[in-house]
């Protein structure tokens, strides 16, 4: 309100329209910058954790009977005798150029980046497939449950969600394999088809693993969506919209769903890490040659560079997706971006 004129309703300085776009760009820039810092700190933590793990890479490669001279030569060759921080900086410098070093024990001497080149798309496809399935299922269940609150439909939809949350992904994988794979024979139970070669085939072959990953998340998403929809329905602007005589469907889409979308997306962003956790387990069960299997092998065979490369890649994906959902939420919520 203006100081000079108490009686008026008040004038206020209005934000210039052209500055809104600039501010949004700055906001996105800031978010990307903080994501980068987070990634750096995260990679250091991962690096130190893996270094601190018991066991020696040299022994696992050369065998328990290796002579101390052979171990020392191995460690010198791979730079493992340097101080940890020097090792980290050297690794970081290479990693920024896309060079994650060579594999020690899985595929001895091969470039990790070229090994990952075939595995990363596989995992990204599986993860994205699972995410799309989870969102689709949760949209159907969540909206249905919210619109039929307290009726049989709500109870059924909510029960399905509880079931989804309480089933571990590895167990669900075996149930799906047994039921849809072996008994009904609708889907293959093992192996992988590249989506770049045969998209329908890839969707068909990937359905069970994607569903196994998606189910627990779909349950969380749909319960979240139901809760935020119900909460939004009680907002005064919804009653106000109805009092203007706007059509119920219009009110649902533009007043209820539009406002519920922001908390729903936030939850999705936070849950992305579970997709990657699921990928690690499910790729193993279904024999899919992706990052998950690669990482598990790296851990078992103490192939530290592989383990490191996989973990940091996963970290990067999580940070990136979180940054994107965060930016999307700011974009959708005028109170945050303008």
């Amino acid at each position: 309100m203006s100081q000079s004129d108490p009686v008026s309703g008040g004038s206020r300085s209005l934000p210039a329209r052209e500055r809104a776009g600039y501010r949004r760009l700055m906001l996105l820039g800031g978010k990307l910058l903080s994501a980068l810092v987070l990634l750096l700190v995260g990679s250091l933590v991962v690096f130190l954790t893996i270094q601190a793990a018991p066991g020696s890479a040299a022994l696992s490669v050369l065998g328990e009977q290796a002579t101390p001279e052979a171990v020392a030569a191995f460690e010198r060759r791979h730079g493992l005798d340097q101080p940890v921080l020097v090792q980290y900086l050297a690794w970081l410098g290479n990693a920024l150029r896309g060079d994650f070093g060579v594999s020690l024990s899985i595929a001895s001497g091969q470039q990790i980046s070229s090994l990952m080149a075939s595995k990363l798309p596989t995992t990204l496809f599986l993860g994205a497939y699972a995410l799309v399935l989870a969102i689709a299922i949760s949209l159907v269940l969540g909206i249905y449950a919210a619109r039929h609150r307290g009726k049989t439909g709500d109870t059924v939809a909510t029960s399905i969600s509880v079931l989804g949350i309480s089933m571990p992904d590895f167990w669900l994988s075996y149930v799906l394999i047994f039921f849809f794979g072996l008994s009904l024979g609708w889907f293959p139970t093992y192996g992988y088809v590249s989506p770049f070669v045969d998209l329908p085939g890839a969707l068909h072959a990937g359905f069970l693993p994607a569903l196994a990953i998606a189910a627990p998340m779909a349950a969380v998403f749909s319960r979240t969506l139901r809760a935020v929809l119900l909460e939004t329905m009680t907002r005064p602007y919804v009653t106000a919209a109805r009092s203007f005589g706007l059509k119920p469907r219009f009110v649902f889409v533009h007043f209820i769903f539009r406002n519920a979308l922001i908390p729903y997306l936030t939850i999705i962003g936070l849950q992305i890490r579970y997709i990657l956790g699921g990928v690690v387990v499910v790729e193993r069960i279904f024999g899919i040659p992706g990052m998950g299997s690669f990482m598990v092998d790296g851990a078992f065979l103490r192939d530290l560079p592989v383990l490191l490369a996989c973990t940091v890649t996963f970290l990067a994906i999580v940070v990136l997706v979180n940054t994107l959902t965060d930016a999307l939420c700011s974009f959708l919520d005028p109170r945050r971006s303008r």
């Binding site: 009686v7 309703g9 539009r258 303008r338």
Partner: protein, 542 residues
Amino acid sequence: MGDLVDLKQLRVSFGKGEGRTEVLKGVDVTLSRGEILGIIGESGSGKTMTGLALLRLLPQTATVTAERMDFEGSDLQSMPDRDFDELRGVSMAMVFQDPVGSFNPCKTIGWHFEHALRRTGRTEGFRDETVRLLNEVGVRRADETVSLYPHQLSGGMLQRALIALVASLQPRLIVADEPTTNLDKIIEKQVLDLFLDMRRKLDASVIFVTHDMPVAASFCHRIAVMNAGEMVEIGPTEQVFRSPRHPYTRRLIDTALELAGVKGRPKASAAHRALLEARADEPPLYKVRDLSITFRGPGKRGLFRAIDGVSFDVMPGEILGILGESGSGKTTLGRTLLRLYDPAEGSITYRGRDITHLPERRLRGFRREMQMIFQDPGGSFNPRKTIGGSLREALVAADVPASQIPGRITALLERVELQALHAERYAHEMSGGQLQRVAIARAIALNPKVIVADEAVSKLDVSVRAGVLNLLTDIQTEMGLSMIFITHDLDVARHVCDRIAVMYHGKLLEIGPTEDVFTNPATDYTRSLLAAHHNLADLIGA
């Protein structure tokens, strides 16, 4: 009579079977074209329900029945939902209490208007029409406002926009549910004028739901009085206010008149005068000089001055009113006297001692002498503790020996006109008025020298407000306390205060004896505040 709305025996209940509660118990309402009907009553009386039921906006858990429910001669009860959607907005519309909550926070003001205007069959020129409508209700810079989001506008502006939005639908009936309750007095008057304007232009009828009797008396043709789900009285405004038939109406009006200062003030009581005279020679309790408080502005660079160079004294035994509208800094000022905030500039002297920058640990002794009573009675009690438990806490803090505590709790409760059995209750089991009494008991448990009462009766219904107010002033006189009484309510301020300080935008505009400020205000702001005020006594000539 009743060619627009004819409601007979409207009943609304929630729940089924055993748990069924009836919130409207047979309400009759009739309304003619161009008429303004006020529905007054206290919270929970069902006045909002009546409006919502008429527009079929109640939640699905509600059951609505009526013997007759006609709008412009057509039966609303048998109307299918689809037809009702067509009726809503363009035939009957509602203006809600909370203008900020009535807008979709994700959409611009212009978007709301576009979709409202589409309802009236318009297919183009939305922006120009919106600007025209906004200009009509006095929204300045309407052209820019169209592309703003609700959170970028003040409550008063949004209420204007909401009224313009409803006007764009050109309804024949407007149900206004406490449309001015959240607004400051000066803006309230402007908004009421907008309603009169709209009624004249659209030849619309208005159902005006309010708990503010002066507003109802000045604004409505007829008045309906509701109590506990029943309509106890309905009639022309003059008749209802001058010669109420129902005892409940009479009680409501009497309390409102008492607050408006017709039936004598407790501050004029002999005891209070004696107290003031006896202590007139004592030095001031508080001396505040050039006090400023700054806060970091939300999202803004630089500092926001909530209090800006304020000086005044608080005398022993007096009730000093701090009058101002929301955002004027009156609450901040009250809290600063308890040193809950650190002053940026100036000084506060309490009983001759400079406490401006006294460190927290040395403030504890002082804080016992200064107690605060808050606006929201429910929020200031620990929900997991009984009332007795909360009072015990205060008594332990006052170093009362453990053996005496139960007796003191009973004595305190009885002093605030409650009973010993209330000690067993939890906060949610008590009414707002009872809780505010307990808050008073808790404040006096520590034998304070000063009480800061921050809008202590604002959330209470009229009928309990006077009781709590009288209790507060009685205790003040009896214990010889000073009281800082923070309020936005002119009637209440005039009712209890010896002196009034008027705050506006962090500045103290004027300070003086209550009657001087009210009869001969020194500033334009105070004058416009008084002009916007509806005095019930004057309105009904009592």
